[in-house]
Amino acid sequence: MRARPIKYKVMIIEDVKIVINQGKQFIPDVTKAVVPAPFRGRPEIDPDLTVDVDALVNCCPVDAISANPISIDMGKCAFCGECALAFPDKIKFTNDHKIASNDRSKLIVKESDVHPITMNPDLIREEIRSFYGGSLKLRQISAAGDNSAELELGACGNVNFDMGRYGIEFVASPRHADGIVITGPISENMAEAVQICHEAVPQPRIVVLVGVDAISGGIFSGSKALDRSFIDKSFIDLYVPGNPPHPLTFINGILDLTRRKKNQ
């Protein structure tokens, strides 16, 4: 009987050693964290440089670039960065990761747009901030997602990003949730499940689209295996662009949507 408590003590010391060697892993303030280059975040387009517009539009694999004026739609952009490689002086991807918005049109970056992506306060329902400003439980639905956006959403809760500190969490049941977070382009086979899950969430409920596949279909756009009717008929509270979106993009997007800034 004596051996056991001694061994137990040693084990505790081992655990403590591991904890000490780990040091501090959390990001102290996720609203101020910087993702280093060459991370591809918000793009910027130089208005003064003339390029072969057709070639520029055609080089995009997901039809995210439009002409007159030249613009990049981050809701369609797969952030592959190939346009910036082909036209390095015309297009640059900055490391600005705060690219989520509740207004679909704000995701479109035009020539000479160099300002941060913001929320449209007119589109935020009053009850969202009063109900969910301090706590938000979400039900994640992977609807034909490729598991990269899902992994990044999982990472939002890890010790580095620790989204739980803001009272934001993923929960198992839609009945316990305040909204749904959709990843993937929504396959025909998942369409009914998405609908049922959404209806099971009590009102007021929010709908968040995470990743290019969810927002526009991404590279799967035009596939006959998809059924995106849910997106077409639903009010979308937040678009989180990326392929997949960085955890900081998601967390900051949710915070900007649900919390009043001190100066507002």
Binding site: F79, D146, N147, S187, I219, S223, K224, A225
Partner: protein, 511 residues
């Protein structure tokens, strides 16, 4: 040419990443094809990479690609059908491992297989033969009687994971039988490979087949394109690609070990393994701009060379990682409370895995030597003489231990390869799509070893050198059945740890 098998003239053998003219694969009578495949698969060193059918000259053409690991060859056999509704004798009746391929052919083309044990739909593809079969009406296996009950879970699960439906047949808390129904993730990937004609679109598609294996799948596509386009890549690029693939393996394995700990309520392991994954994927981002390496692998070259500066950074990260990983891994795999939940839980035997045709981690954890870095070496692995990690107990412990040992192995591989990188060689740019000319009427096979196991892409081209058929196989195709068997006679509460310990791909299976 393969000495052991080509005497019959009934098959053609090629190397991984090699193309041949479609005409060079002999078209056999089905009876001969059947005998030949059955005989080749008798040898445990051979397993089926892919077996599929596609419309060709008003007929249905069947291609069977078998990996002969000892000889490092890919054996190709074919047969053709004019009337796809005539029944064929099922190879799965002799070799169960073929069951999933015959099911897929049946679902897509309606070919009936006589003597198949279980001819059920695979994924309810949008272009399936019988559109009347619906995903919400799957024919689950049933047992009658009042004492048993069924538990249905999914398609949406409790966690942040992909959808699939699990149907448990239980006697009290004990699971008698589990059946997994997939298809919810079907996006029509193979059809999109034909519809999206730009090279870059196909790169993006390959990266999205399974986003957690972006490097494994995209590398398979790029090597296939290089084989069809007669493009050779330099040694440095081959090394960089293998480093990227091994980093992907390390990152996912480490993240998985975190999830193992979460599911057995070992909080310290969960937090520490989870935190250890971060510097690895952050390095991949510092290298390629994306935490999953999307954008890194391109045909013929790369836009993101592994510079001296990045190599120095990687060395530092790996040293720090190794120290912390060893510490927590030693602790986890020696902790009685953890071992109690790992050992002998969800065990499958070597024979079971061999029968089901398991590949990759699932094969290795059950003591079956299947690893395409060894069996179909590609790129820089050709010089490495890779020896796979092998365990034998086939339980949760073995599935965890395989990951721990593979992480350690990857560390060695990456460090060795970095020594071999030649700083004087200028990085190669990707081949511009306009310069890429693919051989006409050809077929090429490309195999890579993703972290789950063997990834296989096969393309067939038409007269103009345009892709006329594209076939993708994720290792999960072979391995889902093994998870079903693992659950037998366990308590249903052991499902989460078993599911996590397999960590199979839903989207890779559903395509």
């Amino acid at each position: 040419m393969n000495k052991k098998y080509n005497t019959s003239g009934r098959l053609t053998s090629i190397k991984n990443q090699q193309k041949i003219s479609l005409k060079d694969i002999p078209v056999l009578e089905y009876e001969v094809f059947y005998q030949e495949v059955v005989q080749i698969l008798e040898d445990v060193n051979n397993h089926c990479l892919s077996y599929y059918a596609f419309p060709f000259d008003n007929k249905l053409k069947f291609i069977c690609a078998i990996s002969a690991d000892e000889e490092k060859e890919i054996l190709l056999l074919s047969h053709e059908l004019e009337k796809p509704d005539l029944p064929l004798k099922s190879i799965a009746g002799q070799h169960l491992a073929m069951h999933i391929f015959e099911r897929e052919i049946h679902e897509n083309h309606g070919v009936p297989f006589e003597g198949h044990p279980w001819l059920k739909p695979v994924r309810y593809a949008f272009n399936r033969k019988d559109r009347k079969k619906m995903i919400n009406n799957y024919p689950f296996y049933k047992i009658g009687g009042n004492e048993l009950h069924e538990v249905g879970v999914g398609p949406i699960h409790a966690g942040v994971i992909e959808p699939g439906h699990f149907r448990f047949l239980c006697n009290g808390e004990t699971v008698l039988h589990l059946e997994i129904q997939l298809g919810w993730q079907h996006r029509g990937v193979e059809a999109l490979f034909l519809e999206k004609k730009k090279l870059l679109q196909r790169n993006l598609l390959a990266e999205s087949i399974a986003g957690d294996t972006a490097i494994g799948h995209n590398l398979a596509f790029c090597q296939l394109a290089e084989a069809l386009g007669d493009i050779t890549v330099d040694k440095n690029l081959e090394i960089e690609r293998v480093i990227a693939l091994e980093l992907e393996r390390m990152a996912i394995h480490t993240g998985d070990l975190s999830a193992f700990c979460t599911d057995v309520a070992y909080q310290l392991g969960s937090a520490v393994f989870g935190a250890l994954r971060t510097p690895l994927i952050n390095f991949t981002q510092a290298w390629s701009g994306n935490r999953f390496g999307k954008g890194l692998i391109r045909v013929g070259g790369t836009n993101y060379p592994l510079t001296q500066e990045l190599q120095q950074k990687l060395k530092g990260i790996l040293n720090d990682f190794e120290k912390k990983f060893t510490e927590i891994a030693e602790r986890t795999f020696n902790l009685p409370s953890v071992l109690k939940r790992f050992e002998s839980i969800g065990a499958v035997s070597t024979r079971q895995v061999s029968l089901l045709g398991g590949v990759g981690m699932v094969a290795k954890m059950a003591g079956l030597k299947r690893d395409s870095r060894y069996g179909q070496p590609f790129g820089a692995y050709r010089d490495l003489k890779h020896e796979p990690v092998l365990l034998g107990s086939g339980d949760v412990y073995a599935r965890g231990m395989v990951r721990k040992l593979e992480v350690e192995q990857s560390l060695v591989i990456i460090r060795n390869l970095m020594e071999k990188l030649n700083a004087r060689v200028a990085p190669t740019q990707p081949v511009p799509a306009a310069n890429l000319k693919w051989a006409g009427e050809s077929i090429a096979v490309s195999v890579t070893e993703g972290w789950r196991g063997e990834v296989c892409h096969i393309a067939v081209t038409d007269k103009q050198g345009e892709i006329s058929h594209y076939k993708v196989k994720d290792p999960s195709m072979h391995n889902w059945k093994s998870l079903e068997l693992s659950l037998r006679d366990l308590e249903i509460s052991d499902f989460p740890i078993n599911n996590k310990s397999y960590d199979l791909s839903y989207c890779g299976h559903d395509l």
